[in-house]
């Protein structure tokens, strides 16, 4: 309905900025799973089978040719298994990431969590997640729905770069309608500016 050239162009810009973030992250997050990354392959984002690029409805196209072999998230070959979703000690038990005021940028300290979920999701294509974006109470209530959805897409873009297929993810913006903390101060607002990762069937 709205796929103007402009929005496509901006999608590409967005994608490349996410890619840049992902590149930066993998440098500082060595535990970022993905069997094969130890084998010396670098820059294999979304490469894997090449499928991530092909399946991408927005035609970002990164991954094609860039990674080659080595950094695949082959089905079932990840270091995480779905069983670990119910292990409270697993990093996968961490399902919420928080945002700065008026920002949808993913803070570096949450990238390990997202990388773990990306590893699991890309290894198990039948898993589905809903990314639920939330805002704090400041500003217009309806505008906040859109802002919170933007946070959800920020996470979606990141996970997609990490090899998760678009059809595994859905985004819902809840605005300020479902606060995690009822307080009216910065501490509460900080807990409310968030994206929650919800696995289907849980």
């Amino acid at each position: 309905m709205t796929n103007s050239e402009m929005s496509v162009m901006n999608m590409k810009l967005l994608a490349s900025s996410v890619l840049a973030v992902a590149l930066a992250v993998s440098g500082c997050a060595p535990q970022t799973t993905a069997p094969g990354t130890g084998g010396g392959a670098t820059g294999g984002y979304g490469a894997g089978t090449g499928g991530a690029g092909n399946n991408n409805p927005y035609g970002y196209g990164y991954g094609s040719g860039a990674g080659g072999s080595g950094s695949n998230y082959g089905a079932g070959s990840g270091v995480y298994t779905p069983a670990e979703l119910s292990n409270p000690n697993s990093i996968l038990a961490q399902r919420i990431i928080y945002f700065d005021f008026d920002s949808s940028n993913i803070r570096p300290e949450y990238m390990n969590i997202l990388n773990a979920h990306a590893s699991l999701l890309s290894a198990y294509p039948n898993l589905r997640v809903r990314l639920e974006g939330h805002a704090d109470e400041r500003g217009s209530r309806e505008y906040n729905v859109a802002l919170s959805e933007r946070r959800g897409y920020s996470v979606l873009d990141y996970l997609q770069v990490k090899g998760v297929r678009a059809n595994q993810m859905d985004v819902i913006g809840y605005g300020e309608e479902v606060p995690a903390d009822f307080g009216h101060n910065e501490a509460a607002w900080g807990k409310n500016r968030r994206v929650e990762i919800k696995y289907a069937g849980e």
Binding site: E142, V145, E149, I172, G173, E177, V178
Partner: protein, 409 residues
């Protein structure tokens, strides 16, 4: 005096409305805040409804209510004049209300009115207040109207959301939607018989239209795409709302019966909160300049231009005539500001620090908005001149997201 008025209001509500108990738990209390200046008017206690008429007039910010005991129970021009009144409402009730508006100085009646008996007694009082208001200000009264708002109760992450409809002063509340998923953004049809609103009941925000009499509802937006902030057109045929496209939102205008959605805006970013400024003009919020600001466009699309310039964050318009109420955010506070669409003059009328969701009365005289009162989500109503201000809050939950109905027939 203020407490007394409040108590009287509560008593009369419980006495007069025994049958309407559907949302009794959401009974709203009204704290009044007397406006010291304005036309001095005395409403004699000719009916149990006199206090309701008083409260209405006070809420408009145009009147200074004179305590009727100061006239010693007399309705004589001398006693009314001695009490300090410029105008007085005198009359009688036998079923309907028969009353006169008296110019105290001349002793002449400037208006003589009859309100027929009505099963909702408080509506009779609101109709009487509307007539007095119009006679003295030249502006049609809007007390005999309704409001819709959302109440949320229960623990964090596990709340129950209710969409409630009540009289314009918060009395006579009735729950029309109750859901474990968020409900938001009510918008009245021009005949006040239906509400459009957003519900997350299907998992994502979808626009629904619900008939108030039958309770029947239907989704009018695509169930597969998030759609928010509906606004009913003045002719009742269309509903404008905002549709998501991968984090971007654009305005569409669709048939009120569903279908026929035509895209009006087409920019990357957030375009939400459309409101009809007239039958062919929409005002909406867009972040195309970085921060949210108000823009207007032809309702058929095109001719978009920015209309808010004062302040870095303006959103959530509500419009009556040339008056635009909006949320103006600055630093950590947000206030409700009125803007004259022609002169662009602005005036802040809200008194809280996190004020949101303005809903302007159809005559533009009062603005209902969401505020925080002692940690509780509450509604407030302020007069456009900033003189009258009241808080309406519920014992049962946080209330917010108000919408003011059009004039009733």
């Amino acid at each position: 005096m203020k407490k007394k008025l409040l108590t009287t209001l509560l008593l009369s509500a419980s006495v007069l409305l025994p049958a309407l108990t559907a949302a009794e738990e959401l009974h709203i209390r009204i704290d009044s805040d007397a406006s010291a200046d304005g036309t001095r008017i005395l409403v004699t206690p000719f009916s149990p409804l006199s206090k309701v008429i008083e409260a209405d007039l006070q809420r408009s910010g145009r009147f200074a209510l004179v305590d009727p005991t100061r006239a010693g129970g007399s309705s004589s021009p001398e006693a009314l004049r001695a009490a300090g009144a410029e105008y007085a409402v005198v009359g009688s009730q036998s079923g309907g209300l028969d009353f006169q508006l008296i110019n105290v100085n001349s002793g002449q009646a400037v208006g003589s009115f009859r309100i027929p008996s009505h099963p909702n007694q408080r509506r009779m009082a609101h109709k009487a207040a509307d007539l007095v208001f119009e006679k003295l200000t030249g502006v049609k009264g809007a007390f005999d109207t309704r409001i819709a708002y959302v109440s949320a109760s229960g623990p964090a992450r596990n709340q129950t959301y209710q969409l409630i409809v009540s009289d314009s002063d918060g009395f006579n509340p009735r729950t029309i939607v109750s859901s474990r998923k968020p409900v938001m953004s009510p918008s009245w049809s021009p005949d006040a018989r239906q509400l459009a609103y957003v519900s997350y009941e299907s998992g994502r925000p979808v626009v629904y239209v619900q008939d108030l009499a039958s309770g029947g509802k239907r989704a009018i937006s695509d169930p597969n795409r998030s759609s928010i902030s509906p606004s009913w057109s003045p002719d009742g045929n269309s509903i404008a709302y905002s549709v998501a496209d991968r984090g971007n939102y654009n305005i569409v205008v669709a048939n009120a019966s569903g279908g026929g959605a035509r895209q009006i805006t087409n920019t990357r970013g957030i375009n939400v909160e459309p409101q009809w400024a007239s039958s062919n003009t929409l005002v909406f919020t867009s972040d195309r300049s970085g921060q949210p600001q108000l823009y207007q466009t032809a309702a058929t699309g095109g001719g978009e231009n920015r209309i808010s310039f004062s302040g870095g964050y303006n959103a959530g318009a509500s419009i009556a005539g040339n008056t635009v109420a909006m949320v103006q955010e600055s630093g950590n506070t947000s206030k409700i500001t009125l803007m004259n669409a022609a002169t662009k003059e602005t005036r802040t009328i809200s008194r809280g620090s996190q004020d949101d969701s303005p809903a302007i009365s159809p005559n533009g005289v009062m603005v209902l908005y969401a505020t925080d009162a002692g940690g509780r989500g509450s509604l407030a109503v302020a007069s456009d001149n900033g003189k009258a201000h009241q808080i309406l809050y519920s014992q049962a939950g946080d209330v917010r997201d108000p919408a003011w109905s059009p004039y009733l027939d």
